[in-house]
Amino acid sequence: MKFRALRHIFFPWLAAMLLALPARADELLMVRAERPFADAINDLQIAIQDHGYKVARIQRVDVGLASGGYATAEYRLVFFGKPEEMREIEDRYPELLPYLPLKIVIFAEGNSALALAYNPAILQGFFKIDPLQSRFQRWEKDIREILDQFAAQ
């Protein structure tokens, strides 16, 4: 009967179809730190500096939201980069600028804080700039390490 067919043919087929889609879990990197936000954002900046980057600015999105009348927990963007690297890209690959400097989003969830970034490796897929491929890979390695350091402790 109809539902039998659904179960024995359709659902296994569906599972196979879904498995055949490209994996994506790794394009977005997200970790949790079991610490109050104030400590967590401090640790995040230290982790970024430990990896040789300069924190350029912290944008307080929550403050903007609050001024618009919306209640919200802490929500910040941390921008960072290596100045000489950013300058080089500015001169040679300005098409990348809308995606730079690098950033990590950090927000509070109760007594913990979540930090996330997109995997810089996606930029190679976006822009296909071969001379920058190893740079994107290094950014990926660094951001993974920064997030791991942030989540540890």
Binding site: R32, E90, P94, L97, P98
Partner: protein
């Protein structure tokens, strides 16, 4: 191509991609706690109590979910919802994760057996019961509650979001027995009630199971297919010089009801003591109403911020560009978010065209 042949190709493709990506990842470990912390804790909470994702450390959930359900849920994710598909993990890693999650069951409880036999019932009756008892939370067509369920420290009416029942990932993972147990027991600690306690008979529940089972899996606007062709940036050439373009851009931003945040040379965005290279200028803006709405749907949308317009001058010609939200949304696995990105894309294009008209 006949279906069966396609199926073989898919399976072959899967085997290839699983093998390919299961190769020695730097953090590969057989330690369940570490795997969980690395891949799951951000959304489901360090101890499985939920957050962006539903709670997993629930006795009623663990009693309903057999290993096959957990395995398929991890592998397939819930396409179009926030739960990602973890295809990069090895089979051994998935098994380790399952054992770790099982560790949250109260001691002494036996785990759900894998039960393949199908439950019989009356779909039409099931449909009527569904409209009456389930649609309010799970949606008229099983599309689930809106948003991600993140607490995000805001006042919320439902602490845990009702999952989509018409989701291809759920329908492929759940056996009839898993769905039935869920309806019989409910999930204490979440809004999902026990329908036995609410007075339904076992036959009613069977009818509901058959109805849920017959949901047509939602056909998803596949973000991989439709978004991968999008260019990474939206760009327009300006007929004006830099100063005039900046001026017109600010007016267009104001006309779109967005708040202007700042205008500065690009190098000020990464270094205070910069050389002030005026050939690359950024204009940041924000629409806080829109942002507030977007954060309810997905707390990760900060990755789209700031709403930035980048102006570049090359050989005396000025162009203005922004990230393309449609291209970026492809990495989020959230179909509701895709709709917002369409809207944002349109706003950006309108502003760019107005400024360079």
């Amino acid at each position: 191509m006949p279906l069966i042949q396609r199926l073989h190709r898919f399976i072959a493709a899967c085997v290839v991609c699983t093998l390919g990506s299961a190769a020695p990842a730097a953090w590969a470990t057989d330690d369940g706690a570490k795997l969980y912390a690395h891949h799951c804790a951000a959304c489901h909470g360090s101890r499985g109590t939920g957050g962006v994702g539903v709670p997993l450390a629930l006795p009623d959930f663990l009693a309903a979910a057999d290993d096959n359900f957990l395995r398929k849920t991890i592998r397939l994710g819930r396409p179009g919802r926030v739960m990602p598909a973890f295809r990069q993990l090895s089979d051994a890693e998935v098994d380790t994760l399952i054992r770790y999650i099982r560790g949250w069951a109260p001691t002494g409880t036996s785990k759900a057996a894998i039960e393949k036999s199908s439950i019989k019932g009356n779909v039409e009756r099931g449909g009527k019961l569904y409209a009456r008892y389930c649609a309010a939370c799970h949606g008229a067509h099983g599309e689930g509650g809106h948003g991600t369920g993140v607490t995000f420290s805001r006042p919320r009416d439902l602490p845990v979001l009702a999952p989509a029942l018409n989701n291809p990932g759920l329908l492929a993972a759940a056996s009839d027995a898993t769905i039935k147990t869920t309806l019989m027991r409910g999930r204490r600690g979440t809004p999902m009630p026990s329908f036995l306690k609410l007075g339904l008979k076992e036959q009613d529940i069977d009818d509901l199971v058959v109805y849920v089972r017959a949901f047509k899996p939602e056909t998803l606007p596949d973000p991989v297919q439709s978004m991968a062709d999008e260019p990474p940036v939206i760009e327009r050439a300006s007929p004006y010089d830099m100063d005039k373009t900046v001026e017109r851009l600010k007016e267009a931003i104001g006309a779109a009801n967005m708040r202007l945040i700042r205008t500065e040379s690009f190098d000020r965005t990464f270094s205070e003591d910069s050389r002030e290279n005026k050939r690359h200028v950024v204009v940041d803006s924000c629409d806080f109403d829109f942002l507030n709405q977007a954060l309810k749907i997905d707390p990760r949308v900060g990755l789209f911020l700031p709403c930035r317009f980048t102006l570049s001058e090359r050989d005396g010609k000025v162009s203005v560009s922004t990230i393309n939200p449609k291209r970026l949304s492809a990495i989020f696995n959230n179909s509701e978010l895709n709709q917002l990105c369409d809207k944002m894309h349109k706003v950006y294009v309108d502003i760019l065209e107005e400024a360079t008209f």
